[in-house]
């Protein structure tokens, strides 16, 4: 059997669907320039049509037809030679709509191979989120703003060609930079894009991640039952209603927490999270009522604490909250845990409010995530900004 290569691209549903599809397609076409055969496909069980849901796209490349067929004779590659993460907040893990549990981003990466992340952060910051693993691997960062557009829209901010350039550096066996250049010239017809790809190719570097480095959290998973042990009638036990709970600081029992599914948490869909100022909250209930995921716990004090394993970061609470700056959506990459904000507030109110102010302030000038385009003309505003960042590298 000849050589077989698999590249996976982890992306966010809707916002990066077209970008991911383009990248895996372009890998196959560029590799074809040096005589290789390949296919590209999205993981069918995913839901790329749902906002922000982690999803995967693959490119499989081989030297000959039989090797390619061996690569295609499985639902998806079990092991990949390279993983690309198109949004750094995905480093917290990818929980597919198809219910595979929370998978670390290097879940399928072969030992010693490279994980590429698009981020403005550095490796130590990313490793606070990327789960630990036994086998060492390499981590490379393409510096840049996360490219988010829409279901049918491709934001032409050169993210695609920069990824191609970086891949040419890591896996020249799949495609050399010359193959990438030829592809861009012939198919994308842009010398500026060749420059972007070359910059990414030349500047790309990676660090060695040693065994055991990274986020110690154990990603949640579950065992699939035998058919005899499954409930019949395509039915699953519902969640109980929930109820009062012990306050994390005082231990007093009160408030209300809905029971939640332990096997499907949804938080890896989140790219921004609400930060709540409990001292200005008027307990008006609007965030709690309007949250589509019942993500708020009612505290014993009657305020609303976001349960950060249930929140998928849609931002409706921020929009609906009538108090100025009481709820602020902040880039998810600023956070490294899902701990209760209410607990922190109760423990030390002054410290919490200081942290809150700093977090919001710090978050403001940094990338304010926008899920797709919210108003006419936003695309035209975003592309030059993103290109500027890309040029700086």
């Amino acid at each position: 059997m000849g050589q077989l290569f698999a590249v996976e691209v982890i992306y966010r549903g809707v916002f990066q669907k077209t970008l991911a599809k383009n990248i895996t397609r372009d890998i196959v076409l560029a590799a074809h320039n040096q005589g290789k055969l390949g296919i590209s496909f999205g993981r069918y069980g995913d839901a790329p049509e749902r906002n922000g849901i982690p999803a995967k796209s693959f490119a499989i490349v081989a030297n000959d037809e039989q090797t390619l067929e061996a690569g295609m004779a499985q639902y998806e590659p079990k092991q990949v030679d390279l993983t690309v993460v198109l949004d750094d907040t995905l480093c917290k893990g990818a929980e597919s709509w198809a219910w595979y549990g929370l998978q670390p981003v290097h879940h399928a990466l072969k030992p010693g191979h490279t994980l590429i992340v698009i981020s403005r952060d550095d490796a130590p910051a990313l490793l606070k989120n990327i789960h630990r693993r036994e086998e060492p691997y390499k981590l490379g960062i393409i510096k840049g703003v996360t490219s988010f557009s829409g279901m049918w829209v491709f934001k032409d901010d050169h993210t695609d060609v920069r990824v191609l350039g970086a891949i040419a550096k890591v896996l020249p066996e799949v495609m050399t930079f010359e193959s990438v250049e030829k592809f861009i010239n012939e198919k994308l017809k842009s010398s500026l894009k060749v420059t972007s790809a070359r910059n990414a190719f030349e500047r790309f570097s990676s660090i060695d991640v040693k065994a055991g480095m990274g986020n110690p959290e154990e990603p949640f998973k579950f065992d699939l039952p035998r058919w005899e042990d499954m409930r019949c009638g395509v039915s699953i036990k519902g969640q109980p209603q929930g109820g009062a709970f012990a306050d994390p600081v005082t231990g007093k029992v009160g408030g209300f927490r809905p029971a939640r599914n332990e096997l499907f948490k949804k938080y890896s869909t989140r790219t921004q999270r609400p930060v709540v100022n409990f001292s200005t909250c008027t307990k008006c209930t609007l965030c709690w009522l309007n949250c589509p995921d019942a993500a708020f716990d009612v505290t014993i004090a009657g305020t609303y604490d976001t349960n950060l394993t249930a929140c998928c970061g849609c931002g409706i609470c921020e929009e609906i909250c009538p108090v100025k700056d009481c709820i602020t959506m902040v880039n998810e990459s600023e956070f490294h845990d899902n701990n209760s904000q209410w607990a922190a507030f109760e423990k030390d109110k002054d410290a919490y409010l200081k942290w809150l102010e700093a977090t919001i302030e710090k978050a403001e000038p940094i990338e304010k995530r926008s899920h797709g385009f919210r108003y006419r003309g936003q695309y035209q505003e975003q592309v030059p900004e993103a290109l500027e960042v890309a040029k700086k590298g």
């Binding site: 009638g233 395509v234 039915s235 699953i236 036990k237 519902g238």
Partner: protein
Amino acid sequence: MATLTIPVEETKKPLEQEALITGAEAIAIACKLANVDVVTAYPIRPYDTVMQYISQLVADGEMDCEYIVAEGEHSQFEIVKHASACGARVFCGSSGVGWMYAMEALTVTPALRIPMIAMVGNRALDDPGAFGVEHNDALAVRDLGWMLTWVDSAQEALDTALIAYRVAEDRRMFVPLAISCDGAFLTHSQALVQIPSQEQVNKFLPRYNRGDLLLHPDNVISVAPQANEDWVTEIRRQNYAVTEIACDVIREVYADFEKTFGRKYGNPFFEEYMTEDADVVLLGMGTMSTPVRVAIRKLRAEGKKVGFVRLRWFRPFAGPEIAKCLERFKAIGVIDRDFSFGSPNLSGVVATEVRSAMYTGSSTRPPVIDFIGGLGGREITVPDVEKTVEITFDAAKGNAQPLTQWIGLRG
């Protein structure tokens, strides 16, 4: 016309009442006796006779149920699906293209383990718009996990409806069941029927208990979530498990029926007529049994040893038993009141299934000739049947016969 009456044991007689009713009316009365909770209706001939009789029973104060006239068959079957999930005993039905319009609702019920009882008044599928009987409507669900039974008399319709509730609502089963009644010949013709007493039925038919599958605020479950490839094979295997035991459950219920009501059906899966010494047999489903029996008696008088096997249960298909029964004959003539265009040998559905069952279950290889006829409600005449017997005897002699032939066809 179907007027066969099955003898009733003398001791049981005082408990029963005799009435001259149609097959449709017999099923309506069975629904009353079964104390059905929710009935949904949408008119289409010939099924609509049942909904008319049930509404009459409700109007007369004889039957107490939720009677919902839906805005179409799809809703009709969806409503009873949900009602059954909530623990209600349900009844519904349709015919021809009405049944097909409900198809999406029909496909989901077996996996959800809904013991829905439906009456299919068999009717030709459009086009052309025809009222008459053809079996392709009910047969459309044959691979989906539905149980399918064909009856040939009003008495059998009533009894089978009671049996149907017992079988479908058995916790080991919990799958939908359709009782097929030939349009016009059964649904619209009146025959003398013994109607069992409420006490007897209560004894025979326990309450429907949905157990831990009950959709109720006190038993919080989520039904029919989206599932990926990690789950679907196991879910299908669960329905397969039902088909593995279906014949045993049916046998149990028929035995108990006989004990309670005294009427004997013998082998639940098929009925044999004059087969003991037969050289060849015909095989078919539904009310064609009447002209077939008449023709057989006529041919027997002429010394021709021919018998008839009437198939009662098509799903489950009692393959090994049918093969064992048929292996002793020199040739078999199947009469299909249906078609299966493009099938192996271009035969109808029943012949294809019979050949398949015999390939694995029979020690002999008698020719199985298929006769397609009686479509769109056309009468299968006694001379038609005589012709099929003649061809079957010819095949038994070893003469080559086309494997599929059309009967009662102009041309």
